[in-house]
């Protein structure tokens, strides 16, 4: 089977989703942020599908989102305006940053769908009141889904949703553990394809693929040098062209990342408890936070990322700045300072919709050269 299957789902996501929909007859909801409670959608036999951009220049969002907002949110909206997700039956967002919220609201205003839902996911996730608040919001979301589909969601349906998601999370964690090896059996690019396939595909199918891949990875030897072990940190990032360049041309490997298109998406499980909605609320409040939800001092996400960097033997960190991404911009100086203090040099790159491979290659090469020099002395 190989790792290609995940790449295939990523690259042909729309074909996959349309065919899957035809085959299963399931409804599909597009979601805009990984705080979306996918368990409740699976409980209703709805397939949640993440909406990501396409990394192509576009000219359709100008009337809808003012140019000072992140290119990612505009790229996301462009997909809707261009009709690429026309198979979606509904959309939803669990409140995260301001920017991506605009992609959701413009979609809501201009692209007709049968169901649209804004879930005010709390920002102060560590506060005692956040979980009860979210619990009630999750119940309200469940009620809205029931009203829309006409199907009652029973506790055992939620259990089924939790089981599906927890399986995905458990399998991905096992794959991530393999990346700790001196010569990881999987590249950073392949790992990202895996996570993205989980966000785009029906997890009931993707889980089987993950299991097969995991078996294969346990004995897999890849025909490449690991080179410098890198971590990539920052905003949403499915900038595969960049990851590919660093790994195939510059000769390094991403062994860990702090992205919602990576580890942040699946890191912690739902711990079952009698009150299913309380269990779900706990999971979403306790996951490695998105920067907009991380108000701690020191930052929870930073403590987590540093710990991961140590455990995964990271030598250098590339800090990716999605242009105009305020939540991340507010963390970057603290991240750079803390990583440098921990002896992990950082390279800071500002990203837009397309990746300027030439200039970035020069900068990455120089960064790696610096890391290698450090090895010499």
């Amino acid at each position: 089977m190989g790792m290609e299957v995940f790449k295939d789902i990523y690259e042909n996501r729309h074909k996959y989703q349309k065919e899957w929909k035809e085959k299963t007859g399931s409804k599909m909801i597009g979601y805009f942020c990984t705080y979306a409670p996918e368990e409740i959608m699976y409980a209703a036999d709805i397939i949640p599908v993440r909406i990501l951009g396409s990394h192509e220049p576009q000219n359709v969002t100008e009337p809808h989102i003012f140019g000072m907002y992140c290119p990612f949110c505009r790229d996301v909206l462009a997909q809707g305006l261009k009709g690429r997700y026309d198979y979606l039956d509904g959309i939803m967002i669990a409140q995260s940053c301001l920017h991506v919220r605009q992609a959701y609201t413009s979609w809501d205003l201009h692209i007709p769908v049968g169901f649209s839902y804004y879930l005010p996911m709390p920002h102060r996730v560590t506060n005692a009141g956040a979980k009860p608040f979210l619990r009630q919001e999750l119940i309200d979301f469940k009620n809205a889904i029931e009203a829309w589909t006409g199907k009652t969601i029973l506790p055992e349906d939620i259990d089924k949703g939790i089981e599906i998601l927890n399986t995905t999370r458990r399998l991905l964690r096992q794959v991530w553990d393999l990346r700790k090896a001196e010569n990881p059996p999987i590249t950073g690019q392949e790992a990202i394809y895996m996570v993205l396939a989980c966000q785009f595909g029906d997890k009931r199918e993707v889980n089987k693929l993950l299991e097969e891949a995991l078996n294969e990875l346990k004995t897999r030897k890849i025909d490449r040098e690991t080179g410098n072990r890198l971590m990539i940190i920052g905003s949403e990032d499915d900038d595969i062209a960049f990851i590919n360049m660093v790994e195939t041309i510059c000769g390094a490997t991403f062994v860990m990342e702090d992205h919602c298109t990576g580890s942040r998406y699946f890191w912690n499980q739902v711990v079952p408890q009698e009150d299913r909605y309380a269990a779900l609320a706990a999971r979403y409040c306790e996951r490695p936070p998105c920067p907009t939800k991380d108000w701690a001092q020191p930052r929870d996400r930073l403590v987590w990322a540093l710990d991961m960097a140590k455990q995964w033997g990271v030598e250098g960190a590339i800090i990716v700045q999605q242009k105009f991404c305020d939540p991340h911009e507010l963390d970057i100086p603290a991240f750079r300072k803390a990583f440098e203090a921990a002896g992990i040099p950082t390279l800071f790159l500002e990203f837009d919709v397309t990746v300027p491979l030439g200039p970035f290659r020069i900068r990455v090469d120089a960064f790696l050269e610096m890391l290698r020099q450090e090895d010499l002395f």
Binding site: R124, D326, E329
Partner: protein, 442 residues
């Protein structure tokens, strides 16, 4: 009346009073330690009524008005922003925030003299991505300052309409306030006084509803006050909306403006057309409003000036006015818990909060203003300095156009003059005025 003048005009009587109250605020904050008081920092939207539970000698500085005050002084603003950039913070972040950080990090930039007076604690709220993070960064640089922050992004609420708040959302915010009350006691070592807190909650209701009533008086033709004047008045609630010292000032302003309406006193003597703006103006370039006057155009305010610190509701007759005070609806506040609930409910209905959830709410409110305040057009400031209030603004433009309201846009920045093109903006205004059929009077 001079040639071209259509209405009588005269200065606002309460102008000096409002100006003094504003001055006192910044001086009190700076000097309060000498008198044994406490000072704290937080945003203009912080649920500040709570801090009055610590006593009458507790003074705050609100970050956005502070940023605006510095921005008005272009030299200070530039110096502060340069420092912030040197520390590695991106140039596209909230301009107030960058100025504020720069002022904390740069000696001698407190506009009322001296260095920025470091607060004893930070008490913030969060609905914009920059709110809690603003002060998290301050604590990165001043780690000794204790900080807490309340999440107020609990869902939309527009009193008198079908957009209702869920009780559990109000409770979520109120519970955080109760927790914060304990935190304040612990942090300051002072006893929290429930009576004082209840009094402050009531004061905030009065002050913010009263501000809405003042703005509603501007429905009159000619408009008794223009937006540039409103900036100097609305600021009182942005500084200390729960402070009882503000109430008599606002009451006098209300009487003053009412009297102007009764006597037909105009803000702009040649008023021929009425517009509103949106979001914070480019503070270093308020002359834009004077330029409008040459066309006989008055800006009657904006959702920003009305709704940043005014609390509104749709009245029984279908018009917009100051929200009915809780006790006028039979709600008696007797306990700390009740006070927190009332305060949370009141604040969640802030008009400027609503567009954070969906631009359709803001378009709805702006279309209402366009109709009730008898407007000829809208000038939207695509404000690169504030991603919070520019959120959804392009959709507001489309929505207003759909509602038949002429709209012009101009790009700028409330605090960073490097992002404002004065000449291009004036040219856009000229073109807009032409489409409205207006010619310059002078």
């Amino acid at each position: 009346m001079s040639k071209g003048q259509l209405y009588p005009t005269e200065p606002l009587k309460t102008w000096g009073l409002a100006k003094q109250a504003r001055e006192d605020f910044y001086l009190d904050y700076r000097d309060c330690h000498a008198k044994g008081g406490i000072r704290w920092a937080g945003g203009a939207w912080a649920l500040d009524a709570l801090t009055y539970g610590l006593g009458d000698d507790v003074f705050s500085i609100t970050s956005e008005p502070y940023g605006a005050s510095c921005a008005f002084n272009k030299d200070i603003a530039m110096k502060c922003m340069m420092t912030t950039e040197k520390y590695g913070y991106a140039r596209d972040l909230c301009a107030y925030m960058r100025i504020y950080w720069g002022s904390v990090l740069t000696k001698g930039t407190y506009p009322w003299g001296g260095d920025y007076p470091i607060p004893d604690f930070i008490y913030q709220d969060h609905i914009c991505c920059s709110h809690a993070k603003w002060y998290q960064v301050i604590v990165d640089h001043e780690p000794q300052i204790p900080m807490t922050c309340i999440d107020v992004a609990a869902g939309p609420f527009m009193p008198g309409t079908d957009v209702k708040i869920k009780p559990h959302a109000v409770k979520y915010v109120a519970d955080q306030m109760l927790e914060a009350a304990e935190w304040l006691e612990k942090t300051t070592g002072r006893k929290f006084d429930d009576e004082k807190f209840i009094e402050a909650v009531k004061t905030e209701c009065v002050n913010t509803s009263l501000w809405a009533d003042i703005c509603a008086l501007n429905k009159a033709v000619p408009a008794p006050i223009d937006e540039k004047t409103m900036y100097s008045l609305y600021v009182l609630n942005t500084l200390c909306k729960a402070n009882k010292r503000i109430t008599p000032v606002l009451k006098e302003v209300y009487e003053d403006v009412k009297d102007r309406v009764a006597r037909g006193i105009a803000a702009v003597p040649n008023e021929k057309a009425r517009i509103m703006s949106d979001t914070q103006p480019p503070w270093g370039f308020l002359k834009v409003f004077r330029y409008l006057e040459r066309y006989g155009v008055v800006s009657i305010g904006s959702l920003y000036t009305f709704g940043l610190m005014g609390i509104w509701e749709v009245k029984e007759d279908g018009t917009w006015g100051g929200r009915t005070l809780p006790w006028e609806k039979g709600v008696e506040i007797k306990t700390r818990e009740q006070a927190a609930y009332v305060n949370a409910d009141w604040n969640l209905s802030k008009p400027e909060f609503q567009h954070f959830y969906h631009p359709k709410y803001k378009t709805r409110m702006m279309s209402r203003i366009a109709k009730e305040w008898k407007l000829d057009g809208v000038m939207l400031h695509y404000n690169r300095g504030c991603e919070g209030l520019s959120l959804g603004i392009a959709e507001n433009r489309l929505g207003l156009l759909k509602a038949g309201v002429p709209v012009m846009t101009f790009e700028g920045n409330m605090g960073d003059e490097r992002e404002f093109d004065e000449v291009a903006t004036m040219a856009r205004i000229d073109a807009f005025m032409e489409t409205l059929g207006l010619k310059k009077d002078y």
